[in-house]
Symmetry: C2
Subunit: 205 residues, 2 copies
Amino acid sequence: MQHSSKVLENAIREIAKLPGIGQRTALRLALHMLRQEKEDIHQFTEAVNHLVDDVIYCSKCHNISDTEICQICADPKRDASLLCIVEDIRDVLAIEQTSQYRGLYHVLGGLISPMEGIGPTDLNISDLVGRIQGDEVKEVIFALSSNMEGDTTTFYIYKKLEGLEMNVSTIARGLAVGDALEYADEITLGRSLQQRVPYEQSLKS
Amino acid sequence: MQHSSKVLENAIREIAKLPGIGQRTALRLALHMLRQEKEDIHQFTEAVNHLVDDVIYCSKCHNISDTEICQICADPKRDASLLCIVEDIRDVLAIEQTSQYRGLYHVLGGLISPMEGIGPTDLNISDLVGRIQGDEVKEVIFALSSNMEGDTTTFYIYKKLEGLEMNVSTIARGLAVGDALEYADEITLGRSLQQRVPYEQSLKS
């Protein structure tokens, strides 16, 4: 195979390095870029360079940030008595998108997983305990994945927090909104029965 | 929703402008980029900038090129007596990937489509006739899509070439290699019967 343009060939090779993008999609994207205004593509590459060059992690919550303390931690309108513990940055974005939470976050940067050799010291756990002791936190909410690693991590941190005076909760497990009961798996259905809520409360959302 | 980083927000917005990439994929790509070495991402953005800034179109065949005349047109090892007419750059790449063709190309830049208001003058047709008259072309091969627009364009150019002494052919239509006969549509199957080839010839590929 002969490429008529080394520049195109090189661009395709670089684009295809991105996850989930093969040679064909890379070619399609490259040809799409060629049809756009140059300024638009420069804007794109600048935004990407800016991202990898300038983004840092908040020294308080370990969320992605432009400044030493991130916008969420620095926002006086957020409720500092609520602290939500999540696995990574994506979870913060997912929770923010619900518009249902006005507290602060703590990003662990992973979950305890003996299988993958990830122990508590690999995660942002030690400073979490310090943070909770120093700060005005009244409730810690665990929002970790509902699997072995998530449950282990929740339990480990829960034990660490024992003796501190505060409420500890986990997000509810149950049927997804819009899901048909008959298709739910039995563990989820069992949990959603166990953790049923008063009807009036369910009307609030 | 509150983003903890404007820089990330901006990068996601720019990445999501690419075709087939939504907000979620853009976020996934942005977080992936953050996990890579900075140099690798700079290499990526440089390749993209280089592509939109420096790529030009070959003045002979209208294929994408780094130079006035593209590498394929300039290659003395290619057979200049064969000219393959294709719709766009992607088709050149597809044919090159077969390693079955050693002639030159002519990229039309589209197909005649009255429905979309694309007429012969919108395509690279006028210089094609000049090119064939001037050059040593002995055979013109139409490799356009097998649809109304492709057939119309082939017929239009075929008429333009009438009177010039050369062979004119189109690529074969038939069952895809590996396809089961029973699932082939009747038009394709009909054509592949009509245009059957001597058995010895079919062994050559």
